[in-house]
Symmetry: C2
């Protein structure tokens, strides 16, 4: 028999990125999962797959699962309610006090369950996520994410300075020891939830801690995620904290904490990344998590994504809740386009706005590459898919490409019917 | 018996603007409609209203209906699918050809029905709307809007130059005669749908046509809606077309087509309005329809709303579909805030971002003032209300004010249960 587990065909109106510039669409097409691997998308079902079960989603859109390269699970309650400050004040006023609550495992359990539920019912199939500095709460978060069926990197945060007392690790040693305890506790525990080293950002981590994490990354082949050049005051502060650095990215580089091509790091934001930072990120194969919604909400600015793409950097999209206001990746596509238009209009008219094709690519293949062959319906890619009904939309174009664009601008009318990760159905809308 | 028609009490979590800076909230409160007029919102129901039926929406949010000061009904199909050009190219490429189709009443009927349906099921209770140049299709639009129960101003568009042939009136006389035929045909026909004179914008109307519309406005006491200073190229063009004008607003002024305080006009956009335009709008009591979503989508720029508010100008919000991508007024509140943050960050850091309070005010009371005593739950205001369930929101704060903010950032989880205009229930969600 052809295929065993997770082998089937979805039928419907299919759309996926061929490359940065092109979206391929097939009306009433077929996309094939064989043992969780995509065998391609077709106008007519190839004979060799005729034995497989066909799940008919006629009239609905079928797109690759979306990838959220940057989100803070413990801040989720604060999303969309507390964006009246800029970064550093916002952290002190809202976020550090909220994250401090995660020393309480009961609180953590309830809050992380909300986060996991919304991840499960949303457009995201893969994500890279910050926990808090609390080892046990972070393990709880990983347990809950594993249950959702989503594939994720999750990090216990390291932070030993410049926070409130209740959210500061006592020493470099304690922070590193807790990190090792965390890694040991979860060894072999999960099939789709992976640890990632997570120094909060330079201002939160002493030189010795950053260096220790760099060594740990090397020792265990672990990836790193952090923040880079988000806010003007933050960038200035980093220069004061690491006076020998020639740029914020160089500060990570000095501590060997920015990864390498085979073990790539994720750096969120890069709003103020200059020539040197671009060079450093290119050299180290860094993935930029572009968080336009967050950067606007905290009035940080707008990252020059067109420039990064011209330079051949790797770019994905991060919701960055809770500075970002929602986990909804359709809205992230929209805000990414809108931010690029404002950058073009108000900052640099030589950098053309992103097209819909490009923003959709960033949300699927762009971030997907961080997870391997992920983010499109070409042969050999992981079978991650979301089936979306747009039947509530009254004024609906016929064209599949336009319908896809339209749901990004009107996400309240985009209803997820079903979601697959590695060919496994992890969400199915109940008919009410 | 107390009150007759449209007299009742809504119970739930109430929020409304007291003024530009303050939102009043009442958890488990009461808001009273007496003959369609709001009698106020209360912690406990006053004795004198105890006879009235109490409709219990415990746990749901109850807010004033929202006001959309600028939308193009015939463009609705194009919303969210065609924003890869700037204004003038976008009009020629997508919009004029689409509007030309409304000479066909069958097409108009189907399309306008979609628009009316979405208006009815959305957050909007009052609106000011553009039709096309076609008299009969515009009457059809008014018929359909009247049926929704929403209160609206609707305009047959005037345009006799600089469009495609199929969407150009043959002469000034024809345009003015058709306008009179339109006004005559609808005289006494509606109870909540009102005509408004609608010269498309200066580039579409010859001097004589603008002058004729100015005279008609005077003769019949009719209001005017149009566009002002949306796009750099447009502003330049207006200066060429009306060389004697000292500003775009002055061009309207020269033709007596910018209204007066007792018959105020709506001018959409005002992205590039300078000192002189501010003075002119103040003098004429003009309402600015701020269309942030549209202005970003077409890369027009961002209007300096903080400045307009500092100057005491009247400002409301317009969705401006189809350059705006949705009729969803919650998203318009969000984009209004986000646009103001980008203006602050990238254009002028002396103009502070709008607060949530201010943006909510603009979407309710700000635009509401155009319709009289509309847009809040104070005593004596029209009873326009929307009941919204946020129970799908997993990570939900307790605080009513924060819940209100959160649904604007996560509108896909804001489900309208019920909507009232002048105390009349015009939408009720069916339980499925």
């Amino acid at each position: 028999m052809l295929g065993a587990h997770n082998s089937f065909v979805l039928k419907g109106d299919i759309a996926f990125s061929e490359d940065l510039k092109n979206i391929k669409t097939i009306k009433d097409g077929y996309v094939v999962s064989l043992d969780g691997i995509c065998m391609g998308a077709f106008d007519t079902l190839p004979k060799k797959y005729e034995e497989l079960e066909v799940i008919d989603y006629k009239g609905s859109l079928i797109v690759p699962g979306m990838v959220d390269l940057h989100a803070h699970a413990p801040q989720y309650l604060c999303s969309g309610i507390a964006t009246d400050n800029e970064l550093l004040d916002w952290l002190n006023k809202y976020i550090f006090p909220e994250e401090a609550k995660y020393s309480d495992l009961e609180y953590a359990k309830k809050s992380y369950q909300n986060f996991a539920n919304d991840m499960k019912r949303g457009f995201t199939t893969r994500a890279s996520i910050f926990g808090t500095m609390h080892t046990d709460a972070t393990i709880l978060l990983m347990d809950l994410l594993e249950e959702t069926g989503i594939v994720s990197y999750v990090g216990k945060v390291n932070m030993n300075r410049n926070s409130v007392d209740a959210l500061t690790e006592n020493s470099e040693d304690e922070s590193l020891e807790e990190t090792r305890r965390w890694l040991q506790s979860i060894e072999g525990k999960y099939t789709r939830t992976f640890p990632i080293l997570t120094p909060r950002f330079i201002p939160s981590c002493s030189d010795g801690l950053m260096k220790g994490l760099g060594e740990l990354s090397k020792e265990k082949g672990l990836r790193i995620q952090s923040h880079l050049s988000e806010n003007v005051d933050e960038v200035k502060w980093v220069k004061e904290l690491v006076p020998e650095s020639t740029s914020y990215a160089n500060a990570y580089e000095l501590f060997n904490a920015i990864g390498e091509k085979t073990v790539p790091s994720i750096m969120a934001h890069c709003v103020y990344s200059d020539d040197e930072e671009i060079r450093i990120m290119k050299e180290h194969g860094t993935f930029i998590a572009h968080c336009a919604d967050s950067n606007i909400n905290l009035a940080s600015g707008i990252a020059p994504i067109r420039r990064f793409l011209n330079e051949g950097l790797k770019v994905g999209i991060g919701s960055d809740v809770a500075a970002g206001s929602t986990l909804n990746m359709l809205r992230m596509i929209l805000v990414t386009i809108q931010a690029s238009k404002m950058y073009y209009r108000l900052v640099d008219s030589s950098l053309e706005p992103l097209t819909f094709e490009e923003a959709f690519y960033l949300a699927t293949l762009g971030g997907g590459e961080y997870f391997g062959k992920v983010g499109t319906f070409k042969e050999g890619y992981a079978f991650d898919a979301v089936v979306i009904s747009d039947e509530n939309m009254a004024a609906k174009p016929d064209n599949v490409r336009q319908r896809l664009e339209k749901i990004c601008y009107n996400d309240a009318d985009a209803v997820i019917l079903s979601k697959y990760v590695d060919g496994k159905n992890i969400f199915l809308r109940r008919e009410t």
